[in-house]
């Protein structure tokens, strides 16, 4: 895959377990500085949680990692996102190619208006997969803990499923092509507690095979599933709101023994 992404690959030997090294110096939307000076490493087969108050830019950061923000007019990025040793923002890199290797699950379940089978097969067909598509679809649905519920109705529209099932369908769609990294942008915020629990269990299951970056506004969720946690806060000065990374570390350390006062205030609920 490396040859398709960029020519000059520089293997990152010092941190073989690092899948992504994200240095986000400045992220702009037009003239608005949304995020500044944040450096987040994402380790292999771990769940990296992004937490912080509303408007702290955690979703912006996540969407910058697979260049989804390129779809937003006025988006500008300073820094680098090293993905397996290559800069996702390197010269001549096609965002489309990046997104094929870094999958995404969104806040709102967004299955396509097509059958359950076709939803999961979408990425396989996009990548012109030559093997048995039916097999892969089954595997992906099993991986997303949805197979038993839908195996008898694969031809039914994905939109006919419940919200929680739709979100697991979206996860199945994302993992069908076995991307290196899975970005999850508040994947449970539109789900009820039972569906949330199922998706959380699924995430822990998935990290055996995938590397996951998870944005959540639910701190309990971060403690339940994230191995490492990045806490972002927001700088409100001169009428602007700029998000930045306050603290990064193992989840237990962030929650039990935070180094920064801001982190401590936030996790103990003393943050307005």
């Amino acid at each position: 895959m490396s040859s398709t992404m960029q020519q000059q690959a520089t293997p990152d030997i010092q941190s073989a377990t690092l899948v992504m090294d994200c240095k986000l110096d400045k992220i702009f939307y037009g003239n608005f500085l949304a995020v500044r000076d944040s450096h987040v490493p994402i380790e292999k087969n771990k769940i990296t949680g992004f937490i912080g108050p509303s408007g702290c830019g955690k979703s912006t950061v996540l969407r910058s990692l697979n260049r989804m923000n390129d779809l937003v007019e006025g988006f500008r990025f300073d820094g680098y996102v090293q993905f397996l040793g290559q800069d996702v923002y390197g010269k001549g890199v096609d965002p489309v190619v990046v997104r094929r290797y870094i999958g995404m699950v969104f806040q709102q379940p967004n299955p396509f208006s097509m059958s359950i089978f076709d939803n999961v097969a979408f990425g396989l067909r996009l990548n012109r997969y030559k093997g048995d598509i039916g097999d892969r679809v089954k595997q992906a649905l099993q991986g997303a803990a949805l197979w038993d519920e839908v195996k008898d109705k694969l031809k039914v529209s994905g939109l006919a499923l419940s919200g929680g099932q739709q979100q697991r369908l979206c996860i199945a769609r994302a993992i069908a092509t076995q991307p290196q990294v899975l970005l999850m942008d508040e994947p449970c915020s539109a789900l009820d507690p039972i569906a949330t629990r199922r998706v959380e269990e699924l995430m822990v299951e998935l990290k055996k095979d995938y590397t996951i970056a998870l944005v959540t506004h639910n701190m309990q969720q971060a403690t339940r599933v994230a191995d490492t946690t990045a806490f972002f806060s927001v700088d409100i000065s001169e009428g602007s709101r700029t998000g930045y990374l306050v603290e990064f570390g193992p989840t237990y350390q962030i929650f039990e023994n935070p180094r920064e006062k801001l982190t401590k205030d936030y996790i103990s609920g003393q943050f307005s």
Partner: protein, 331 residues
């Protein structure tokens, strides 16, 4: 604060006797009056529209009865229209109506949908797209007779050399088996295509714009290219609405009168040739009514009924196909 059930609570359920200084009050009688009046007018509007449709169908149906009794099914299968001989066959006109409309739909549909994709899928800066959209919509404001004149003075002279070449070289293909000697099916269908284009483009644009942003993001999130996102996700998601635009366009093409009366040639013949003059039901009606005697009125009403049934069937068929496509989808 104390709440007591009013004495007339039996008549008005949940009418509580609230202290006068409470903020919570039932709607005032004038609010209720406005509410009821509005509801009444809305119902009246619906009723009037329905009654108009029924009255129209009945009126035409009743006036068509003498024609139906006298000529029956022979009129639908007859190919000769000769008022002097009292021969009234409308099969060529039915053929011409369907043939010209389908060709117009093919051309107008292709360009209309392409235009809708071009104007909604981030090919143009938003402002420029809005300008283009307005221009396309302006096409709908041009009077039919102007289209007719344009067809006669611009389209026909323009396509004539081309049709001659096609006829000479490919005359063995039925579509090119005659020459264009002025008005004919192709110029009529071409102008008709332009006339139905704004409808198709506008309704398809609405359909494409109503595809949720999250669906678009899902497509790009999977690593789809611009065209993959459009062809594999956006258009299929909007397919029902796009199909609806085609049905609307076809409906308009079937009933279009003035431009066709000027361009189609008004000749009662059934030919596959695109260059042969033809006739349509609407043009037949428009041209024959001014000089129609009592007997012809019945015949023409019969023809009008046939046109109405065709249009109605197209719409019902379209609705059924849309319902079929949407089966099993809740959202």
């Amino acid at each position: 604060m104390t709440y007591k059930i009013k004495r007339d609570a039996m008549e008005k359920p949940f009418a509580l006797d609230v202290d006068t200084d409470s903020i919570c009050q039932p709607p005032s009688s004038s609010t209720l009056l406005i509410d009821r009046t509005f509801r009444m007018f809305a119902r009246l509007g619906v009723f009037v529209v329905l009654a108009l449709v029924v009255a129209l169908v009945l009126e035409i149906g009743v006036k068509a009865i003498p024609g139906i009794q006298k000529y029956g099914l022979d009129m639908l299968t007859g190919t000769v229209w000769d008022v002097g001989q009292q021969q009234f066959g409308i099969l060529p006109a039915i053929w011409g109506t369907l043939y010209s409309s389908l060709i117009a739909l093919l051309i107008g549909g292709f360009f209309g949908i392409s235009m809708a994709i071009f104007l909604t899928q981030d090919f143009l800066p938003a402002r420029l797209a809005a300008v283009f959209r307005t221009i396309v919509e302006l096409l709908a404001a041009i009077p039919s007779v102007v289209y007719g004149l344009w067809g006669i003075f611009v389209v026909i002279p323009f396509i004539r050399p081309l049709t001659d070449v096609l006829n000479e070289s490919f005359g063995w293909i039925p579509f090119f088996s005659s020459t264009l000697s002025g008005p004919g099916l192709l110029p009529a269908a071409l102008v008709l295509a332009i006339m139905i284009l704004p409808t198709i483009a506008a309704v398809s644009q609405d359909a494409l714009r109503s595809v949720p942003l999250k669906t678009k993001q899902a497509a790009y999130g999977m690593g789809a290219t611009h065209w993959e996102a459009i062809l594999k996700v956006m258009v299929p998601t909007a397919a029902t609405g796009i199909f609806g635009s085609l049905v609307l366009g076809l409906g308009r093409a079937l009933g279009e009168t003035m431009a066709l009366a000027m361009l189609v040639g008004n000749s009662n013949q059934i030919s596959l040739s695109l260059f042969a003059p033809a006739n349509t039901l609407a043009a037949l009606l428009a041209l024959n009514f001014p000089e129609a005697g009592p007997n012809e009125i019945g015949v023409l009403m019969y023809a009008a009924l046939v046109l109405m049934v065709i249009t109605l069937m197209v719409n019902i068929l379209g609705s059924m196909m849309i319902m079929y496509a949407q089966r099993g989808v809740k959202a």
